[in-house]
């Protein structure tokens, strides 16, 4: 059976990390995952905006869900932020009768209706649960056994239903890393905030007490790369290194999980600008796996 989703790359992947998008599309194509692209979707919008107006955030997010539902398809996103926003919006909408009535009233004026029949899915869930680990394993053509990597999950990957298993998606991430044969090394700070969201309130604090703390720890591990399934974490940890250069050099290659998988599945790194568009020294990874 062919898998089919509404594809929602999110603004960071599409505008700042096209190399990550290329890796994602390569993987999805490899496993015959059909992606439907819709012009009617708006910004997710980020959950943090519920601080300004919860009902506004919820209505805009549910509008996107309603459009996906009208096509009868789940939304696939590789962005932790978009995932969190859609996931929490659906949960709040389905659980809160008053909120649901308010949102429904507004959306019905625009001709939309959401009944909670579709799900937002993170790329990790699609790959692990729908494509399946075994199928991915069978298609590995470039085992990355030479690599030792650390992981940075990204806070919003821990979002679950009430009483759910918060480590479910992080465990899936671990398995998806291990399926490439890369060795996963831990420092115990995998769950630390990268500093991206708090940087919008206090950038200096976030850089020193979040971004640098994690970079320092990963550097001490002596790994070949830090792998993350989150676009925002990727950007923060890469740009953070550039900004910290005057103070300290970390030179830790930071890559998206999709890039690691794409390399193992045989995508030519030159085809998605693996060493060109990153701000961290990703060429070190290619040297280690004999492609540099």
């Amino acid at each position: 059976m062919m898998l089919k989703y509404i594809f929602y790359p999110g603004c960071y992947v599409s505008t700042m990390l096209p190399h990550v998008e290329a890796a994602i599309r390569f993987i999805l194509k490899k496993f015959n995952v059909e992606t439907i692209e819709l012009e009617d979707l708006s910004c997710c919008p980020p959950k943090i905006n519920s601080i300004a107006d919860e009902l506004f955030w919820l209505t805009v997010a549910v509008r996107n869900l309603a459009i996906a539902e009208s096509k009868g398809l789940d939304i696939l996103t590789p962005c932790n932020g978009c995932f969190e926003s859609f996931f929490e919006a659906k949960m709040m909408y389905m659980e809160g009768k008053d909120l649901r009535e308010k949102v429904s009233n507004i959306l019905s004026k625009l001709g939309y209706k959401f009944e909670g029949k579709i799900k937002p899915k993170h790329l990790i869930e699609v790959l692990y649960e729908d494509v399946g680990l075994e199928k991915i394993k069978e298609n590995i053509v470039k085992p990355l056994g030479a690599l030792r990597v650390a992981v940075h999950y990204g806070c919003h990957l821990f979002i679950v239903e009430h009483g759910g298993d918060v480590w479910k998606k992080p465990r899936m991430t671990d398995e998806l890393i291990k399926v490439t044969r890369a060795e996963l090394v831990r420092d115990g700070l995998e769950r630390l905030c990268c500093g991206f969201v708090p940087s919008t309130v206090d950038d200096a604090f976030s850089l020193t007490y979040r971004t640098e703390v994690r970079l320092k720890s990963v550097k001490e591990l002596g790994v070949d790369a830090l792998v993350t399934p989150c676009p925002q974490c990727l950007m923060r940890l890469e740009f953070g290194q550039v900004r910290l250069r005057a103070k300290a050099r970390y030179d830790v290659p930071i890559i998206h999980l999709a890039e690691l998988l794409a390399l193992a599945l045989g995508l030519d790194p030159k085809k998605f600008g693996f060493t060109v568009y990153h701000k961290s020294p990703t060429k070190l990874i290619l040297q280690k796996i004999g492609l540099g």
Binding site: T15, D40, R63, G273
Partner: protein, 210 residues
Amino acid sequence: MEEFLSKILEKHKDKIVKVKEIVPWRVIFEVPNGRLKELAKDVFEIHGFRLSTISTLDQGFYFELLYHFVKDKYVLTLKTVISKENPRIPSLTDIIPGANWLEREVRDLFGIEFEGHVEPERIVLPPDWSLEPPLRKPIAPKLPPTYAEYLVNLISKAALASITGIVKRRRTKMGLPEVVAPVLESKKVIEEIRKISKELEIDRKVPVRK
């Protein structure tokens, strides 16, 4: 900071968490709300200041209370913060009688309880006032500029991200579609998000660009 104020700071530095000097004779000492009263007592009884007034700032999630003390040319402000969920603080009226009307005014207008006030009656509102305190805003934080700007962007153009020429070229080079949602500047999307914001009267919260 002038020596007279420096000496007060030195004596009470264990209670003061932050110092701001406006001019050498006008300073602000920030203190935890649990330490405010003992510092105010010393400032009033030992250092000879009088309480000039109390100002209150509603900062969304919390209140800032500024107790302005004056002596000759010196102005010493004791600043403290209290939560909006539990807006209460010990009254100074048992040590500074002049705090009586000031605290009652703050209580009437912002709904802050001054515990142990010697005369907790209304002063600027009618005794039977049953509505919310008139100067108190709903609990909502002041948004950091980044998010205020984002909200404006969301209302004005559905926060559809713009894509630079260089990224467009990179996308083409890698065989990606030139633009994808939520990047595409769809007039329909922008119009619908504007309608939602109008329904919810969001433009009252932030100035909207035309």
